[in-house]
Point group: C2
């Protein structure tokens, strides 16, 4: 729905992008999707977001082609939300925000993003300094840093304590 009528007059691709992903919670949902979160309940407990808002965001992100709703079992019918190529293309923007936040707001390292092939930490625009290439999202390895709570309450945060690649589906312990 968006910020809509006001942003439309902006003639600016930044404004257009923010119309789609600029609402409260939206970019955090996309972040979680890139981290491998796919199920409604996992988004819910990890984000601490009101259910109504989560439903609305999942719907608009699906309509925008950033997530795809996919039936993963019949009977009982269960759906999951998987990030699409268009959503994966938001990685550089999320990465840039993370770098800015880390350098200007944080006093400790929460996570490291590494090139899965060689273990080198990514540079500021997502490149591998050792290999000299921009690392595709699927080859980014997410590893915990020293500032992270070692015993978090929710199962999603617990699952994220293990190193894992982006996009790889998250294994929570509700199995």
């Amino acid at each position: 729905m968006a910020l809509g009528k006001d942003y439309v007059t902006q003639e600016c691709s930044i404004a257009s992008a923010l119309e789609v992903v600029g609402e409260r919670w939206t970019l955090l949902v996309v972040r979680d999707a890139l981290y491998g979160v796919r199920r409604y309940n996992d988004f819910l407990v990890h984000l601490g977001i009101p259910r109504a808002v989560l439903s609305a965001r999942l719907r608009t992100l699906t309509e925008a082609g950033i997530l795809e709703k996919r039936r993963y079992q019949e009977s009982p019918p269960r759906d999951e939300y998987v990030v699409t190529d268009r959503g994966i293309a938001l990685w550089p923007a999320l990465r840039a925000l993370a770098v800015w936040g880390r350098e200007h707001l944080m006093d400790r390292r929460l996570r490291y993003f590494r090139h899965a092939e060689c273990g080198t930490e990514l540079g500021s625009y997502g490149e591998c300094p050792a290999c000299g290439t921009v690392v595709p999202v699927a080859d980014v390895l997410l590893t915990p840093g020293p500032g992270l709570d070692p015993d978090p309450a929710d199962p999603v945060s617990r699952a994220l304590l293990k190193p894992k690649r982006l996009l790889e589906p998250l294994e929570t312990d509700h199995v």
Copy 2:
């Protein structure tokens, strides 16, 4: 205000960044500041934002060290808002959002971002493909594209029809 209390539990530098710049209008104010907008009235007419919201955003951005309020004349006292190094550091994030919006939402080119030294259009992470270096913000030349309205209503948009470097103060015709 901020998105505050909910985002705080996130242990994530993206969430921290969005606490500061994730509210409605905030990133567009920063974009305008990078484009050289400095005066209250210029932000107002260019963004079409309610005055109360603009005042609030300018205040929180100043408190966050992203803008700096600077007296540019006494009697009558007049202030302008100048983007700081911390604000300039948001350029990669805005750039990444612009690239995503352009590729996934726009059907026409509104603006080109070029390396001022050589005129080459910037690559997707803000580098100059010809020179092989990441271009500093002050050396980015903003030039109009074919999709841009050639006769916009507000003076700020009119001033942005001329090629200009980022950060360079905008010359509107209210002089």
